[in-house]
Protein backbone atom coordinates (compact mmCIF):
# COMPACT_ATOMS: atom_id res chain seq x y z
CA UNK A 1 0.00 0.00 0.00
CA UNK A 2 2.72 2.47 0.90
CA UNK A 3 5.30 0.98 -1.38
CA UNK A 4 3.39 2.04 -4.48
CA UNK A 5 3.12 5.66 -3.43
CA UNK A 6 6.82 5.72 -2.69
CA UNK A 7 7.53 4.42 -6.17
CA UNK A 8 5.51 7.23 -7.75
CA UNK A 9 7.94 9.89 -6.58
CA UNK A 10 11.63 9.28 -7.12
CA UNK A 11 14.04 10.70 -4.51
CA UNK A 12 15.01 13.42 -6.94
CA UNK A 13 11.41 14.48 -7.54
CA UNK A 14 10.74 14.37 -3.81
CA UNK A 15 13.71 16.60 -3.12
CA UNK A 16 12.63 19.02 -5.84
CA UNK A 17 9.13 19.18 -4.42
CA UNK A 18 10.37 19.73 -0.89
CA UNK A 19 12.74 22.48 -2.05
CA UNK A 20 9.97 24.20 -4.00
CA UNK A 21 7.59 24.03 -1.05
CA UNK A 22 10.21 25.37 1.33
CA UNK A 23 11.19 28.20 -1.04
CA UNK A 24 7.59 29.22 -1.60
CA UNK A 25 6.82 29.08 2.12
CA UNK A 26 9.89 31.00 3.20
CA UNK A 27 9.43 33.52 0.40
CA UNK A 28 5.82 34.10 1.33
CA UNK A 29 6.70 34.48 5.01
CA UNK A 30 9.44 36.94 4.13
CA UNK A 31 7.13 39.01 1.92
CA UNK A 32 4.43 39.03 4.60
CA UNK A 33 6.97 39.99 7.25
CA UNK A 34 8.34 42.83 5.14
CA UNK A 35 4.78 43.93 4.48
CA UNK A 36 4.00 44.01 8.18
CA UNK A 37 7.12 46.12 8.76
CA UNK A 38 6.33 48.81 6.23
CA UNK A 39 2.59 49.04 5.86
CA UNK A 40 1.71 51.44 8.63
CA UNK A 41 -1.16 53.82 8.26
CA UNK A 42 -0.12 55.34 11.55
CA UNK A 43 3.08 57.34 11.29
CA UNK A 44 6.09 56.89 13.51
CA UNK A 45 5.35 60.16 15.26
CA UNK A 46 1.94 58.93 16.31
CA UNK A 47 3.44 55.83 17.92
CA UNK A 48 6.35 57.80 19.34
CA UNK A 49 9.95 57.20 18.34
CA UNK A 50 11.30 53.85 19.52
CA UNK A 51 13.93 54.38 22.20
CA UNK A 52 17.36 52.82 21.70
CA UNK A 53 18.33 49.90 23.96
CA UNK A 54 20.64 51.26 26.64
CA UNK A 55 23.11 49.17 28.63
CA UNK A 56 21.49 49.32 32.06
CA UNK A 57 23.63 47.97 34.84
CA UNK A 58 20.71 45.76 35.90
CA UNK A 59 20.27 44.22 32.45
CA UNK A 60 21.07 40.52 32.42
CA UNK A 61 20.05 37.46 34.35
CA UNK A 62 22.43 37.84 37.29
CA UNK A 63 22.57 41.62 37.67
CA UNK A 64 21.06 43.50 40.60
CA UNK A 65 20.19 47.16 40.67
CA UNK A 66 23.01 49.63 41.26
CA UNK A 67 21.93 50.82 44.70
CA UNK A 68 24.11 53.93 44.68
CA UNK A 69 22.21 54.91 41.55
CA UNK A 70 18.90 54.24 43.29
CA UNK A 71 19.92 56.59 46.08
CA UNK A 72 20.98 59.33 43.67
CA UNK A 73 17.79 58.75 41.70
CA UNK A 74 15.72 59.18 44.83
CA UNK A 75 17.46 62.51 45.39
CA UNK A 76 16.56 63.57 41.84
CA UNK A 77 12.98 62.44 42.35
CA UNK A 78 12.72 64.32 45.62
CA UNK A 79 14.28 67.54 44.38
CA UNK A 80 12.88 67.61 40.84
CA UNK A 81 10.07 65.20 39.97
CA UNK A 82 8.25 65.39 43.30
CA UNK A 83 7.20 68.95 42.47
CA UNK A 84 4.54 67.47 40.18
CA UNK A 85 4.58 63.66 40.41
CA UNK A 86 3.38 61.51 43.28
CA UNK A 87 4.91 58.17 44.30
CA UNK A 88 1.95 56.69 46.12
CA UNK A 89 2.99 53.08 46.51
CA UNK A 90 6.37 53.71 48.15
CA UNK A 91 6.56 54.10 51.93
CA UNK A 92 9.58 55.41 53.80
CA UNK A 93 10.16 51.92 55.16
CA UNK A 94 10.70 50.64 51.60
CA UNK A 95 13.85 52.75 51.30
CA UNK A 96 15.44 51.16 54.36
CA UNK A 97 18.20 48.76 53.38
CA UNK A 98 17.78 49.67 49.72
CA UNK A 99 19.06 53.21 49.43
CA UNK A 100 18.95 54.63 52.95
CA UNK A 101 19.54 53.56 56.52
CA UNK A 102 16.65 53.33 58.95
CA UNK A 103 17.65 56.51 60.75
CA UNK A 104 17.93 58.47 57.50
CA UNK A 105 14.50 57.30 56.34
CA UNK A 106 13.06 58.06 59.77
CA UNK A 107 14.54 61.56 59.69
CA UNK A 108 13.03 62.24 56.25
CA UNK A 109 9.62 60.98 57.41
CA UNK A 110 9.72 63.08 60.58
CA UNK A 111 10.23 66.26 58.61
CA UNK A 112 6.68 65.83 57.31
CA UNK A 113 3.32 66.09 59.03
CA UNK A 114 0.67 63.39 58.68
CA UNK A 115 -2.94 63.22 59.84
CA UNK A 116 -3.25 61.64 63.26
CA UNK A 117 -6.23 60.16 65.08
CA UNK A 118 -8.59 62.90 66.21
CA UNK A 119 -8.30 63.87 69.89
CA UNK A 120 -10.99 63.20 72.52
CA UNK A 121 -13.08 66.16 71.40
CA UNK A 122 -12.88 65.04 67.78
CA UNK A 123 -10.54 67.76 66.63
CA UNK A 124 -8.14 66.73 63.87
CA UNK A 125 -4.52 66.38 64.93
CA UNK A 126 -1.21 66.17 63.17
CA UNK A 127 1.80 64.04 63.99
CA UNK A 128 5.30 63.70 62.55
CA UNK A 129 5.73 60.96 59.94
CA UNK A 130 6.79 57.41 60.71
CA UNK A 131 8.60 54.79 58.64
CA UNK A 132 5.28 53.12 57.82
CA UNK A 133 3.89 56.29 56.20
CA UNK A 134 3.77 56.58 52.43
CA UNK A 135 5.63 59.31 50.58
CA UNK A 136 3.10 62.12 50.14
CA UNK A 137 2.26 63.46 46.71
CA UNK A 138 2.49 67.12 45.73
CA UNK A 139 -1.26 67.60 45.26
CA UNK A 140 -4.20 66.74 47.54
CA UNK A 141 -6.36 65.46 44.65
CA UNK A 142 -6.62 65.11 40.88
CA UNK A 143 -8.36 68.44 40.39
CA UNK A 144 -5.57 70.27 42.17
CA UNK A 145 -2.99 68.42 40.09
CA UNK A 146 -4.73 69.38 36.86
CA UNK A 147 -5.19 72.95 37.98
CA UNK A 148 -1.50 73.20 38.74
CA UNK A 149 -0.47 71.82 35.36
CA UNK A 150 -2.69 73.56 32.82
CA UNK A 151 -5.16 70.72 32.75
CA UNK A 152 -2.66 67.90 32.38
CA UNK A 153 -2.42 65.21 35.05
CA UNK A 154 1.12 64.19 36.02
CA UNK A 155 0.94 60.37 36.37
CA UNK A 156 1.91 58.60 39.57
CA UNK A 157 5.44 57.28 39.17
CA UNK A 158 5.33 54.14 41.34
CA UNK A 159 4.61 51.83 38.40
CA UNK A 160 5.73 54.01 35.52
CA UNK A 161 8.51 51.70 34.32
CA UNK A 162 6.15 48.73 34.06
CA UNK A 163 3.30 50.83 32.69
CA UNK A 164 5.10 52.15 29.61
CA UNK A 165 6.26 50.38 26.47
CA UNK A 166 10.02 50.24 26.50
CA UNK A 167 10.29 50.68 30.28
CA UNK A 168 13.64 52.15 31.35
CA UNK A 169 14.81 52.83 27.81
CA UNK A 170 11.67 54.83 27.07
CA UNK A 171 11.96 56.85 30.26
CA UNK A 172 15.60 57.73 29.72
CA UNK A 173 15.02 58.61 26.07
CA UNK A 174 12.06 60.77 27.02
CA UNK A 175 13.88 62.64 29.78
CA UNK A 176 16.91 63.36 27.65
CA UNK A 177 15.12 63.64 24.30
CA UNK A 178 13.83 67.21 24.36
CA UNK A 179 15.28 69.08 21.38
CA UNK A 180 16.18 72.76 21.63
CA UNK A 181 13.35 73.61 19.28
CA UNK A 182 10.57 71.57 17.71
CA UNK A 183 11.27 70.62 14.10
CA UNK A 184 9.94 72.97 11.44
CA UNK A 185 6.30 72.44 10.61
CA UNK A 186 5.31 70.85 13.92
CA UNK A 187 2.30 72.59 15.41
CA UNK A 188 1.94 72.04 19.14
CA UNK A 189 -1.21 72.59 21.17
CA UNK A 190 -0.81 75.40 23.72
CA UNK A 191 0.97 74.41 26.92
CA UNK A 192 2.74 71.43 25.42
CA UNK A 193 6.31 70.66 24.47
CA UNK A 194 7.81 68.64 21.67
CA UNK A 195 9.34 65.26 22.43
CA UNK A 196 9.77 62.71 19.64
CA UNK A 197 9.65 59.73 22.03
CA UNK A 198 6.23 60.65 23.38
CA UNK A 199 3.37 59.12 21.34
CA UNK A 200 1.97 62.01 19.30
CA UNK A 201 5.00 64.21 20.00
CA UNK A 202 3.25 66.79 22.17
CA UNK A 203 3.87 66.29 25.89
CA UNK A 204 2.64 68.53 28.68
CA UNK A 205 5.81 68.05 30.71
CA UNK A 206 8.64 70.33 29.71
CA UNK A 207 12.32 69.51 29.89
CA UNK A 208 13.17 69.42 33.59
CA UNK A 209 16.67 67.98 33.83
CA UNK A 210 19.52 70.40 33.23
CA UNK A 211 23.21 69.96 34.04
CA UNK A 212 24.07 70.52 37.72
CA UNK A 213 20.46 70.82 38.79
CA UNK A 214 21.14 68.74 41.90
CA UNK A 215 24.28 68.24 43.91
CA UNK A 216 25.02 64.57 44.54
CA UNK A 217 26.29 63.56 47.99
CA UNK A 218 28.91 61.21 46.57
CA UNK A 219 30.33 63.83 44.22
CA UNK A 220 29.10 62.24 40.99
CA UNK A 221 28.89 64.99 38.33
CA UNK A 222 25.21 65.77 37.91
CA UNK A 223 24.92 65.88 34.14
CA UNK A 224 21.52 65.66 32.50
CA UNK A 225 22.06 62.08 31.36
CA UNK A 226 23.50 61.04 34.73
CA UNK A 227 20.41 62.34 36.49
CA UNK A 228 18.09 60.75 33.93
CA UNK A 229 19.88 57.42 34.36
CA UNK A 230 19.73 57.60 38.15
CA UNK A 231 16.10 58.60 38.37
CA UNK A 232 15.16 55.88 35.88
CA UNK A 233 16.99 53.27 37.93
CA UNK A 234 15.21 54.55 41.02
CA UNK A 235 11.82 54.38 39.31
CA UNK A 236 12.55 50.89 38.05
CA UNK A 237 13.24 49.87 41.63
CA UNK A 238 10.00 51.57 42.69
CA UNK A 239 8.08 49.57 40.09
CA UNK A 240 9.86 46.28 40.81
CA UNK A 241 11.13 46.34 44.39
CA UNK A 242 11.41 42.54 44.29
CA UNK A 243 13.82 42.67 41.33
CA UNK A 244 17.07 41.67 43.11
CA UNK A 245 15.44 38.79 44.97
CA UNK A 246 13.54 37.69 41.90
CA UNK A 247 16.73 37.15 39.91
CA UNK A 248 18.41 35.35 42.80
CA UNK A 249 15.45 33.02 43.31
CA UNK A 250 15.28 32.47 39.57
CA UNK A 251 18.87 31.31 39.55
CA UNK A 252 18.06 28.83 42.31
CA UNK A 253 14.96 27.62 40.49
CA UNK A 254 16.90 27.12 37.27
CA UNK A 255 19.70 25.20 38.94
CA UNK A 256 17.27 22.92 40.75
CA UNK A 257 14.96 22.31 37.80
CA UNK A 258 17.75 21.75 35.30
CA UNK A 259 19.50 19.23 37.57
CA UNK A 260 16.18 17.47 38.16
CA UNK A 261 15.67 17.50 34.39
CA UNK A 262 19.00 15.79 33.78
CA UNK A 263 18.24 13.30 36.55
CA UNK A 264 14.83 12.55 35.07
CA UNK A 265 16.36 11.91 31.64
CA UNK A 266 18.73 9.41 33.22
CA UNK A 267 15.93 7.69 35.19
CA UNK A 268 13.75 7.46 32.11
CA UNK A 269 16.55 5.89 30.09
CA UNK A 270 17.30 3.50 32.93
CA UNK A 271 13.66 2.42 33.20
CA UNK A 272 13.13 2.04 29.47
CA UNK A 273 16.42 0.29 28.71
CA UNK A 274 14.96 -3.26 28.74
CA UNK A 275 12.02 -2.20 26.58
CA UNK A 276 14.18 -0.46 24.01
CA UNK A 277 16.58 -3.41 23.75
CA UNK A 278 14.13 -6.27 23.69
CA UNK A 279 13.93 -8.48 20.65
CA UNK A 280 10.60 -9.82 19.52
CA UNK A 281 10.75 -13.09 17.65
CA UNK A 282 7.84 -14.49 15.75
CA UNK A 283 7.84 -18.13 14.89
CA UNK A 284 5.30 -18.74 12.17
CA UNK A 285 3.12 -21.73 12.97
CA UNK A 286 3.75 -24.72 10.74
CA UNK A 287 1.03 -25.64 8.37
Amino acid sequence: MFKSSARLASPWAQRAMATTAATVGLGASYVLYQDSMTANAMTASEHGLHPPAYGWSHNGMFETFDHASIRRGFQVYREVCAACHSLDRIAWRNLVGVSHTASEAKAMAEELEYDDEPDDEGNPRKRPGKLADYIPGPYPNEQAARAGNQGALPPDLSLIVKARHGGCDYLFALLTGYPEEPPAGVVLPPGSNYNPYFPGGAIAMGRVLFDDLVEYEDGTPATTSQMAKDVTTFLNWAAEPEHDDRKKWGLKALIITSSLFLLSVWVKKFKWQPIKNRKIVWNPPRK
Binding site: E63, H67, A68, V98, T101, S103, D244, K248
Partner: protein, 61 residues
Protein backbone atom coordinates in the same frame (compact mmCIF):
# COMPACT_ATOMS: atom_id res chain seq x y z
CA UNK B 1 26.53 3.68 56.95
CA UNK B 2 23.82 3.97 54.32
CA UNK B 3 22.16 0.74 55.34
CA UNK B 4 21.97 2.07 58.89
CA UNK B 5 20.14 5.15 57.65
CA UNK B 6 17.60 3.48 55.42
CA UNK B 7 16.83 0.32 57.34
CA UNK B 8 14.13 1.80 59.54
CA UNK B 9 11.45 3.85 57.88
CA UNK B 10 11.42 6.47 60.61
CA UNK B 11 15.16 6.94 60.29
CA UNK B 12 14.84 7.08 56.50
CA UNK B 13 12.25 9.86 56.71
CA UNK B 14 14.35 11.72 59.26
CA UNK B 15 17.40 11.42 57.00
CA UNK B 16 15.49 12.88 54.07
CA UNK B 17 14.11 15.74 56.14
CA UNK B 18 17.41 16.72 57.73
CA UNK B 19 19.19 16.17 54.42
CA UNK B 20 16.76 18.50 52.64
CA UNK B 21 17.11 21.09 55.38
CA UNK B 22 20.88 20.95 55.35
CA UNK B 23 20.98 21.07 51.56
CA UNK B 24 18.74 24.11 51.24
CA UNK B 25 20.72 26.00 53.90
CA UNK B 26 23.98 25.20 52.14
CA UNK B 27 22.56 25.87 48.68
CA UNK B 28 21.05 29.19 49.71
CA UNK B 29 24.21 30.34 51.47
CA UNK B 30 26.46 29.41 48.54
CA UNK B 31 24.26 31.05 45.96
CA UNK B 32 23.76 34.21 47.97
CA UNK B 33 27.50 34.45 48.41
CA UNK B 34 28.12 34.04 44.70
CA UNK B 35 25.32 36.46 43.79
CA UNK B 36 26.59 39.16 46.13
CA UNK B 37 30.13 38.66 44.94
CA UNK B 38 29.00 38.89 41.32
CA UNK B 39 27.22 42.18 42.04
CA UNK B 40 29.91 43.61 44.27
CA UNK B 41 29.86 47.39 44.37
CA UNK B 42 26.20 47.67 43.39
CA UNK B 43 24.50 46.37 46.52
CA UNK B 44 23.42 48.61 49.37
CA UNK B 45 25.81 47.20 51.97
CA UNK B 46 28.67 47.83 49.53
CA UNK B 47 27.76 51.43 48.76
CA UNK B 48 26.41 52.57 52.11
CA UNK B 49 29.91 53.60 53.19
CA UNK B 50 29.95 56.19 50.41
CA UNK B 51 26.92 57.97 51.83
CA UNK B 52 26.80 57.26 55.57
CA UNK B 53 29.52 57.74 58.16
CA UNK B 54 30.11 54.88 60.57
CA UNK B 55 29.06 51.28 60.23
CA UNK B 56 25.86 50.91 62.21
CA UNK B 57 24.72 47.64 60.74
CA UNK B 58 21.76 47.30 63.08
CA UNK B 59 20.51 50.49 61.49
CA UNK B 60 19.76 48.86 58.16
CA UNK B 61 16.89 46.56 58.87
Amino acid sequence: MFSALIKRNSLYVATIFTGAFAFQAFFDATLTKWYENHNKGKLWHDVRGKFVEGAGDEDDE
